[in-house]
Symmetry: C2
Subunit: 175 residues, 2 copies
Amino acid sequence: MAYDLFSRRGVRDVGVNELIERSGVAKATFYRHFPSKDSLVLAFLAQRDQLWTIETIVSQARLRGTTPTEQLLAIFDVFGDWFVRDDFEACSFINVLLEMGPAHPLGQASIDYLAKIRGHVQALAEEAGLQRTEDFSRSWHILMKGSIVSASEGDTGAAKRAQQMAGWLIEHHRS
Amino acid sequence: MAYDLFSRRGVRDVGVNELIERSGVAKATFYRHFPSKDSLVLAFLAQRDQLWTIETIVSQARLRGTTPTEQLLAIFDVFGDWFVRDDFEACSFINVLLEMGPAHPLGQASIDYLAKIRGHVQALAEEAGLQRTEDFSRSWHILMKGSIVSASEGDTGAAKRAQQMAGWLIEHHRS
DNA sequence: CGCGAGTAAGACTGGTCTGTCTCCCTTCAG
DNA sequence: CTGAAGGGAGACAGACCAGTCTTACTCGCG
C-alpha cells in the first residue's frame, strides 16, 4: 500500500493523510505504529531493499546466469526487462537521496542501502575471481545508476548499453 | 538568487515566499513577471543549461583538451574538480526529472536539456571521427549521470572511474 | 457481566504552500 | 502640478502538510 505509493510517486509527494485514507486506518493508529512519517519512510526503504534489491534484482540475476560472471552481466538483463515496464518507477534509493540530500537521515539511509547493493556486486565479483573488487563494484554501480537515470529519460536501450560497458569492465578486472 | 537556491536545495524545497523575501521584490511584482512558480523553474533550467552545461562543463572541457578525444575525456576531469567542491549540488536536470517525473512539464524540460548535453557529446564524437556517435553519446551519458549520482553518495573518485570506462568506450567506437 | 485495549472517524493545531488582491508610496511624463 | 504606471509590503484565500487529541465503538479476557 504505502510501498506502491512511495515507490511510484516519491516519498515527498505522498502525504500521511492520503496513506491513512487509502489504507482505511485511523490517524491515531498510524502514529501508534510509527512515531513520524520519516520512520514509515525508513520502513519503506527497508522493504524496498528486501523486495526489489534482494528478491528481484539479485535473486533474478543469480537465477539467469550459471557462472558468477554471467550472473553479474545478467543484472542488466533484469534491468532491461524492468526498464520497459509501464510501471517503471526508477530507484527509490536514488530518488530519496537526491530529494532529501545526503545530510538528511533518509538520504543517509538511502546511501546505506545503495552501499548494500554495491556489496552484492562485490560479492559476485569475488566469486568470479576478479581483481580489486571494491573498485570494480564502484565502477559497476556507476553503470547501474547511470542506466536507471537514462531509463527514466525514456532510453529503453540503456540496459544493453550499460551491459556492454560492464563486459569491458569485467575484462579489465580479470588480471 | 533563485538560481543558487534552486540548484542547491531543489526546486521543490524552495517556495515562492522565500524567493520573494530574499530578493526584496513584492509578490505581485514576481507574479507579473512569471505567471506561475513553474515558469520560474523553467527559466531556472534554461539558466542552468547556459551557466552550467555550456559555460562550465562544455567550455571547460574544450579548454582542457587539444584534440576532440582529449576534450571528451576532459569532461570527467571537470567532473572530478566539481565533485570535490563543498557546494556540489548534483545535476539539477536529473534532480528535477526524478522529483517531478517524466510526465510533468518540468520533467519533460529536464529531459530536453539532458538531450542537449548528449548533443554536445555527440558533436565532440563527430569531431573525433568516432563511429555510431548516437549510441556513443548515449553510453557516454550513462557514465556522466552514473558518476554524478555516485558523487552524491560521497564517492569523490567517481569521475576517475567513469573516465576509465569512457576511455574503453572511445576505443570501441574508433572502428 | 465489566473492564480495558485497540481502533475508526475525524476535528483540530499550527504551520506551510501557491497565487490573488489591496494599500500606499515613488517615479516620471506631459 | 497632475495623473498614470509600477513596485514594495503584506493581508488574505484556499488548499495542503505533519502531528495531536477526542469521541464512540467493538472486541477479547477475566
